[in-house]
Symmetry: C2
Subunit: 243 residues, 2 copies
């Protein structure tokens, strides 16, 4: 029998799924999980996801890490860096620890953790193949967790769930309309994800392009630009190739 796969389109829907026996993929395409993959790909020692700015500052000070994060799309007050993958090139981030807090992605990760997820990894288009390879190799139940925007379902995280399902769905038993919808949406969009987001006037597209961040959007919709697998263990995300 194939393992199950479900898609939770919003953190508010995560309680509906049994994460305790599942690998949970945290998806926050714009931009937390794209940035996490990028920082690790560029040699960061680890990323510590935290759910508040205060904790970010505290831990950053204790371990001499880079404090990073945003609230509502801007660098959060008191932090040194933001949530753009372009802020973390190899020459800056290699060997360092990033302490990261974001509006949606890191919050969902902590939610999955509190609910006893068996394993947590993070996924974005940046590391799509790494996530797919891992999920097929493990052959365990999967919950794709979209971070959404303050619990409101968003297009880009749904597209990322759809991209995973489009590639490896046949290896899973999918009795989940959200997953079917995500894959259908992805098939519509896959030829030009950026153009799709622009044409649909996706809320996050409007928000970020309003800040002049079109290049961030473009990068975050590019497959496998930072193809590592961020795995959560003991408070840290590391690029673990051995699990």
């Amino acid at each position: 029998m194939k393992p199950s796969l479900y898609t939770s389109l919003s953190p508010a829907l995560l309680p509906l799924y049994d994460v305790s026996s599942s690998i949970v993929v945290i998806i926050d395409v714009l931009r937390a999980t794209s940035t996490i993959a990028t920082a690790l790909y560029n040699g960061a020692r680890c990323v510590i996801p935290v759910d508040s700015v205060a904790k970010c500052i505290e831990i950053g000070r204790q371990i001499d890490g880079i404090t990073a994060g945003e609230r509502d799309g801007h660098i959060a007050e008191g932090l040194e860096h933001g949530n753009s993958p372009f802020e973390y090139p190899r020459e800056f981030v290699a060997g360092k620890t990033l302490v990261l807090t974001t509006t949606n992605g890191t919050k969902l990760l902590h939610m999955a953790l509190e609910k006893g997820a068996q394993q947590i990894v993070t996924g974005a288009f940046s590391n799509l193949d790494a996530v797919c390879d891992y999920l097929t190799r493990k052959a365990q139940p999967v919950v794709l967790g979209c971070s959404a925007w303050k619990d409101r379902v968003n297009i880009e995280d749904t597209l990322m769930a759809g991209a995973i399902i489009n590639r490896i769905g046949s290896a899973f038993d999918i009795n989940c309309d959200s997953s079917k919808m995500a894959e259908t949406l992805y098939k519509d969009a896959k030829k030009d994800l950026y153009g799709f987001m622009e044409k649909k006037r996706a809320s996050h597209f409007i928000r970020l392009s309003g800040y002049g961040l079109q290049e961030d959007i473009r990068y975050c919709l590019t497959s496998n630009a930072a193809n590592v697998l961020p795995v959560y263990s003991e408070g840290k995300l590391t690029s673990d190739l051995t699990i």
Copy 2:
């Protein structure tokens, strides 16, 4: 300025939207809101939606109404009738009152009520045009409320939201990814809604066709078979053409 339109894909997401200044359209295509439209179209005096089987029995006794409803797709214990639109032809239902409780739709209606919705109507493909005409005529903010299945997003309610948006979306200001996704899904499916549900193996399609209810599904996906507007007021849904 155009009024806003949002789509809530699950009752668990309804709290994210301001219903107090909105018309809320309760959507439960399979089968509550299809059956409500059908019963009223066939001359039922009114439909009283209740959120528990006990209340259904109690009110049914008090007013000598038809007690109807399902739990998990079957006639609920202690009730006389189920949730199939075919149970309510004119010769049976005309002039009568239906007291109805269902797994998802009537629960969402009461949720919208508790949250102070300005106006509640119910929508299904059966009364698609009546709903669209009403919403454009009123030109007020709208929340399309999908009933889903025990809070899990489903395809058919999303398709119905998409059908409304596809017809009248241009009259509204839609900054809502769920709405964009619903319309995209509908455009993919509209040539053959039944075939789409079947091909995607929609969870409710599997569930109801497992009970041999293919004709119910076919009817519930047919546009304007019972084109009235059920409007909620003082505990009752009536087909009110004057509002």
